[in-house]
């Protein structure tokens, strides 16, 4: 061993601990390997057994999600989920977090988050057609928040704009629980032909293992391990573990891979994401039950003197690993060279079941492959239930100010203020298939290129609900996604989930995780809305303070005709405004309570999944029959905020006499399963009758028209004033003139 070019440090339990391998895990490792591992082998085990790659704390819970439906082609376990969207086409999608890197280096952290999720989708054969981003930042007054917003947004724009995939939707919230851990959850949706979907299971002993894309550098080494630990004060010293992205190379990689996929050269393919070459090669060979031998001197490198350890653990971006069919090397090489990308045969598949890494003829790793892939520790971590919140005192329902004053403040609060400052920095139009952005309708709508079909896309979760009642909050996140997809007229088909939580070793946090999963799973079952892909991000804690539990739900639905999608903007004076659903006036955990009364308490609103389903089915049928001119679900901020958003989007007011004596519960309560519809006056009776027949409560709110919301307690509120308040906050905040 001493004659090797790279003299590796001796491995000890202490060195293993530095790699995030706990004492009992190291013992297990020694038993599996049967000897002390080499330094390179230790590095490989450390990333494969990291929380990020192994899901060791979450796996037993994730099995509770329903993952099947007649339209599901491929559920969790692959790079992304695949669903049938008719005509031999499939939608392929996933959401993934890049939280830790984005907090340390917001621009590159967010940019590479977008790059990574794009690769997860196009590696399966799909052309990416839309990106969404769910962002959560600390309170606006925190000294880091402004620069994080600026950096994350610039990073997302930098990457998404250049690769030419429209960014069409997302959500941005602020809360002090994210002061030390912002969340950047990126979602990509792509479209493929069902007979041209590519998987990562390697097959064919002797088949060449091919590396394509960018060269390997030292960036991102131990990114997966970093993402599996809590932050402390010195986390910013970890900046070198954040990768640097190059969207130009990614664009070339998309075109080159799709061109290669159109041939018959590829047996299997996977992107090099977290844990880079290690996880891609281990997972591909592991799924195929094979061994793999790599010759690391053949890996294209952009830095000198890289060690085997560094090559295997690098998280350099824009790289793919491909198993080619025999004799396809020349074809594949010519396509990669056309796009000026690196191409190298770096090894081959074996029947030994071993993971063998050689460099210049010397062996640095020779491990049984299966245990790396499937013998990571699995933990049934202790859980502690979240105590049920106390009920609110009923007198809170009294409205102490004019509705206009409250409404103007609410729609200007950071969570509800217009995010135009953000989305105008994203190219939302490239592809020329964008029908709606997420601010124009409850879900973004993108036409499936070359067809009339529309994909409806949404990202949802209400972390404060999940914090107060994780089970109900989990249900609500899925229900709201289902509602938003339905509100544009699309049939909800499946979700991807991005589970962002604190330290799972704390029973209270693990209890949040478990209950959120169970609530989500229940909603998925009742709504026929399975989970087809997902990602777990744990240890979102700084100095012991965890984030709000944030299981972000990325929903995908389908419209037979994208042009029939309905937005939220009021359009026609004289339309009748109808409210579907029941209003009990639930103020617990509402934005009204937080923003106006300064309280974050009370129970999460109840979720009636059967009513959600019935109401959504009715809304979709009404839209399909052309009876609806605007549609919006009632969520954050309640009914008055929903009406204000519809009025602001359309630049037209409404007269709402039935709300003249409404209290705060009616105006700002956040009861679920509700929609506001604008329907032509001559159709209102028909819509009312159909709601009654469907068993959905319906009531008339008023009539569209004028330039103000009139009839609310306390007098008319001009739409222009609402718009000014709603549009004003974020630009002023970013300019440093508001908090």
């Amino acid at each position: 061993m001493t004659s090797k070019r790279w003299n590796e440090p001796a491995v000890t339990e202490a060195l293993a601990a530095e790699h995030g391998i706990k004492a009992d895990e190291y013992k297990r490792l020694l038993e599996i390997v049967g000897r002390t591992p080499t330094f390179t082998e230790l590095g490989i085990y450390s990333v494969m057994w990291s929380e990020h790659c192994s899901y060791k704390s979450s796996k037993i819970w994730l099995r509770k999600f329903p993952t099947e439906a007649p339209w599901v082609i491929c559920g969790p376990g692959e790079n992304a989920g695949v669903i049938d969207i008719g005509d031999g086409q499939a939608a392929i999608f996933k959401m993934e977090s890049h939280n830790h890197p984005s907090y340390i280096e917001p621009f590159q952290g967010a940019a590479t988050g977008v790059g990574g999720i794009l690769r997860d989708v196009f590696t399966m054969g799909a052309r990416p057609v839309a990106n969404l981003n769910a962002l959560r930042f600390g309170e606006p007054s925190h000294p880091k928040t402004r620069s994080l917003v600026a950096g994350v947004v610039a990073g997302i724009g930098h990457y998404g704009n250049c690769v030419g995939v429209p960014t069409v939707g997302g959500e941005t919230n602020f809360h002090k629980a994210y002061n030390g851990n912002c969340l950047v959850n990126a979602m990509t949706v792509g479209v493929a032909q069902q007979d041209k979907i590519f998987y990562s299971k390697a097959a064919g002993v002797g088949n060449p293992v091919v590396y394509v894309g960018s060269k390997t550098g030292r960036d991102g080494i131990h990114g997966a391990t970093m993402s599996s630990a809590e932050f402390t004060e010195d986390s910013e010293a970890k900046r070198p573990t954040v990768q640097v992205g190059d969207p130009f190379t990614e664009k070339l990689l998309i075109e080159a891979c799709l061109e290669l996929m159109a041939t018959d050269a590829i047996q299997s393919i996977q992107d090099m994401g977290a844990a880079g070459l290690t996880s891609s090669s281990v997972e591909m060979a592991g799924k195929g039950g094979l061994g793999i031998e790599l010759h690391l001197e053949k890996v294209p490198q952009r830095e000198l003197n890289m060690t085997p350890y560094e090559i295997m653990l690098s998280e350099s971006q824009e790289r793919m690993l491909i198993i080619l069919k025999p004799g396809s090397e020349d074809l594949a090489r010519s396509i990669m060279e056309k796009w000026e990308l690196d191409f190298a045969v770096i090894g081959h598949l074996t029947d030994t079941g071993r993971f063998v890494l050689k460099m210049d003829g010397e062996t640095y790793c020779d491990l049984a492959l299966a245990p790396l892939f499937d013998a990571a520790p699995l933990y049934t971590r202790p859980t502690e239930p979240t105590p049920a919140p106390a009920a609110l005192e009923p007198e809170l329902r009294a409205l102490k100010q004019s509705a206009g004053a409250v409404l103007t403040r609410l729609i200007a609060c950071p969570d509800l203020a217009s995010k135009r400052w953000i989305w105008e920095q994203y190219d939302s139009q490239v592809g020329a298939d964008t029908r709606f952005l997420s601010g124009q309708a409850d879900a973004a709508v993108v036409r499936v290129h070359g067809t009339q079909k529309g994909l409806a896309l949404s990202s949802d979760v209400t972390p404060r609900y999940c914090h107060a009642d994780p089970y109900r909050g989990g249900m609500q996140a899925v229900a709201e996604s289902y509602r938003n997809i339905s509100a544009v007229g699309a049939t909800p088909l499946a979700i991807t989930d991005n589970m962002n939580f604190g330290n799972p070793e704390k029973p209270r946090i693990m209890g949040q995780f478990a209950a959120c999963v169970e609530g989500m799973a229940e909603a998925c079952r009742v709504l026929d809305y399975p989970v087809v892909s997902g990602n777990v991000s744990l240890y979102n804690e700084t100095n012991g303070e965890g984030i709000l539990p944030t299981p972000t739900v990325g929903g995908v639905g389908l419209l037979a005709d994208g042009m029939k999608a309905v937005g939220l903007a009021l359009r026609n004076a004289g339309d009748v405004l109808l409210l579907l659903g029941e209003t009990a006036g639930h103020l617990g955990q509402s934005l009204y309570l937080r923003e106006i009364l300064g309280r974050e308490d009370g129970p999460t609103p109840p979720v009636d999944l059967a009513l959600e389903r019935r109401t959504a089915e009715l809304v979709r049928a009404l839209i399909a029959d052309g009876l609806v001119s605007a549609s919006h679900d009632v969520s954050d901020g309640g009914l008055a905020v929903a009406l204000a958003e519809m009025a602001m989007a359309g630049g037209i007011g409404a007269d709402l006499p039935v709300l003249a004596d409404a209290d705060a519960g009616t105006l700002f309560g956040e009861d679920q399963a509700r929609y506001v519809l604008a329907v032509p006056a001559d159709k209102a009776a028909e819509v009312g009758a159909r709601a009654a027949a469907a068993g959905v409560p319906v009531s008339k709110l008023g009539t569209v028209g004028g330039d103000a919301l009139t009839g609310l307690p306390g007098g008319a509120i001009p739409v222009a004033a609402l718009r000014g308040a709603n549009e004003g906050w974020l630009p002023s905040y970013m300019a440093g003139t508001a908090h």
Binding site: F248, K251, Y426, V430, R435
Partner: protein
């Protein structure tokens, strides 16, 4: 009308442009790769938007020196219509087919939104179907769309009626409020001396289909069809 669309590494509006050209002309455009050294005979060449060569060095600078651009310049010299949209406009200025340059937006931020434009000249194959002074709404999407040139060049462009489009407010005012990127004299698009080469930052192919909710870009393509077929 026969057309060609140039594809550079990093182009990303090439397909959208091809869709619009095919829809209006009924003929599939020839897609030319940056390394190509020849083109079939066509009536119009589109240099599309995107991030050619990753915008490295300077937007459009590397594309301007690619093999296909030698062909584009030869054709332009023969009077073949050439249009550069967004990154294509940047490339045409770098290639010397149009004067001036496109620098970073005054806000220092990428901007994607639908803007109001005034049609300043209808005397071209690109703008003939618009009304003189008509205000149209067309999306922009760029980080470097701030058109600059020295005062003499700007005076010449204006004096010779070579300003194609100007950014305006919805009410038609040529002022800072209506100017999304700080462009000199609110210039959004210009012609060469013979009005056969056009560069513009806004994307008419993004306001073409009823799905876009705005079809003000349609007349741009109809103008080409009417002149060139």
């Amino acid at each position: 009308m026969k057309s060609a669309v140039i594809v550079f590494p990093g182009s990303n509006c090439d397909r959208d442009m091809a869709v619009a050209l095919e829809r209006v002309s009924g003929k599939k455009p020839h897609m030319a790769f940056h390394k190509d050294t020849d083109l079939p005979e066509v009536d119009v060449i589109a240099v599309p938007g995107g991030f050619s060569y990753g915008d490295y060095l300077r937007c459009g600078a590397m594309a301007a020196h690619s093999p296909i651009m030698r062909v584009v310049k030869e054709r332009a010299a023969r009077g073949v219509r050439v249009m550069g949209i967004c990154n294509g406009f940047q490339i045409l200025t770098e290639a010397g087919l149009l004067p001036g340059a496109l620098i970073r937006n005054k806000t220092l931020k990428y901007i994607c939104k639908t803007v109001d434009l005034r049609v300043e000249s209808t005397n071209s194959a690109f703008t003939g179907k618009y009304g003189a002074g008509q205000i149209i709404r067309i999306p922009v999407g760029h980080g470097e769309g701030n058109f600059v040139a020295d005062a003499a060049t700007l005076d010449r462009l204006e004096g010779e009626g070579r300003v194609a489009f100007r950014y305006v407010t919805a009410a038609g005012a040529v002022d800072a409020e209506g100017n999304p990127n700080g462009a000199s004299r609110n210039i959004a698009g210009i012609f060469n001396e013979t009005r056969t080469v056009l560069g513009m930052m806004p994307h008419p192919e993004r306001a073409f289909d009823p799905l876009h909710g705005n079809t003000d870009g349609r007349a741009f393509f109809d103008s080409l069809l009417e002149t060139l077929s």
